[in-house]
């Protein structure tokens, strides 16, 4: 008997340090952009140069997945407040945080938008900490803890022509059990950058790069043609694990071996109680389940493409 606890650890507490204060208004010369993530929308008002930086970190998803979006959260970024070189981030006119470094502001804002989107969407979708891609309309779900190589694998698949859904925040329609894209950049850690640079030359120079938790992460925006043309049913649940020097292997496993990983990497199933559990079981029952040991990225991509072919 094994007990599986459901983790919410990925919803970071980026909002914990907000301070409520009087409403503020951005200067008139600032510009405004809308960010859409499925039915969630955020409006950002900031200097043009800052908006350009944010646009590189918040790629737009496919139009079909964002129809009917309404902006529910408004962020303003005030430059040189409270002093020169500082930034004040204001949420919904009243809640604010200060930053001394531009990169901290950018990363926090991206995280805050992803978190707000997940909160907004969690009643509509099943959420998993996983990567997701599809080939010929057949969806692959890669639930795994951080450091397992999800993003590198997904990037390799996208380079090989797979549709991109996400590298670590998966949204699944609970009634149809189909993947829908959660638009975000693919976060490539330093160790994978060299391997992926031949597939994505922009990783050498152009992609935004930040130091995050002791590692340097490059933010790879998917090209517009990488997005899927529609939702994809989950046909394969694959547990990926990068093991340096190991022989790349794809091994069938029982659904019950996949289930604990899936539940452990979910952040909305528990909220749904028995119905949530039934949806996850239905998902696993309808999918082929595998364990993927990745020693060589190209070999792993070939195995998965062959599977979907």
């Amino acid at each position: 008997v094994t007990s599986y606890m459901i983790s919410n650890s990925l919803i970071c507490s980026t909002l914990a340090n907000w301070r409520v204060d009087d409403a503020v208004d951005a200067p008139a010369e600032y510009e405004t952009r809308d960010v859409r993530i499925l039915s969630f929308g955020a409006r950002i008002t900031a200097e043009a140069s800052l908006l350009r930086d944010l646009e590189r970190l918040l790629p737009p998803g496919p139009a079909w997945a964002t129809a009917g979006t309404h902006s529910s959260t408004w962020y303003q970024v005030l430059c040189d407040v409270p002093g020169p070189g500082h930034y004040m981030l204001v949420r919904d006119g009243e809640q604010r945080r200060w930053f001394a470094r531009r990169q901290d502001l950018l990363l926090t804002l991206v995280w805050a938008i992803h978190q707000a989107a997940a909160e907004h969407l969690r009643t509509q979708y099943l959420f998993f900490h996983a990567g997701a891609a599809a080939f010929h309309g057949r969806g692959f779900l890669f639930p795994a803890a951080s450091g397992s190589g999800k993003s590198t694998l997904v990037a390799g698949l996208v380079a090989a022509g797979f549709d991109y859904f996400t590298d670590d925040i998966v949204t699944i329609d609970p009634s149809a059990l189909t993947l829908v894209p959660f638009p975000k950049c693919i976060g490539i850690k330093q160790g994978s950058r060299r391997v992926l640079s031949s597939l994505f030359p922009q990783l050498r120079h152009d992609a935004p790069r930040f130091r995050v938790e002791g590692d340097v992460v490059s933010y790879l925006a998917p090209s517009p043609e990488a997005w899927p043309a529609g939702p994809a049913p989950v046909r394969y649940v694959v547990l990926p694990k990068y093991v340096r020097g190991a022989q790349t292997a794809l091994t069938p496993v029982r659904p019950s071996e996949v289930l604990p990983h899936l539940i452990e990497q979910s952040f909305s199933v528990r909220d749904r109680g028995l119905d949530g559990m039934n949806r996850v079981l239905e998902l696993v029952r309808g999918a082929q389940c595998y364990r993927l040991t990745v020693g060589d990225l190209r070999a792993a991509v070939d195995l998965l493409r062959h599977l979907a072919d």
């Binding site: 008997v1 094994t2 599986y4 029982r254």
Partner: protein, 107 residues
């Protein structure tokens, strides 16, 4: 290994007086959800899930208020061609875990 040994000792101490009489039954509200030939038990209050393999699922189906632990072990022993002692040990372990997880009715 030490945890398992501890559980076994604890269980033996606790179960010895009533083990012959107790006929385990599922706790009301616990859902048993099939997954191929295996089983997932869902506890409605803790919202935790527990996976049972094929043999565990058989034991669960025998926790029907009719079978004692000894008779469950007999059934498992005959189905899997293992000794009664081995089956009894495994069944006791599983039932203890199920009880600890609040999936079976209290005796």
């Amino acid at each position: 290994v030490s945890l398992q040994s501890h559980l076994t000792v604890t269980m033996s101490d606790h179960m010895a007086p009533q083990a012959h009489e107790w006929r385990p039954t599922p706790r009301p509200g616990v859902s048993a959800l099939p997954l191929d030939e295996e089983l997932v038990l869902y506890h409605p209050e803790s919202r935790e899930s527990f996976a049972l393999n094929q043999t565990g699922a058989q034991v669960w189906s025998l926790c029907d208020g009719e079978h004692t632990i000894d008779s469950i072990a007999q059934e498992i022993s005959s189905r899997h061609a293992i000794s009664h002692e081995q089956a009894l040990s495994d069944v006791r372990d599983l039932i203890h875990d199920l009880q600890q997880s609040d999936l079976l009715d209290a005796r």
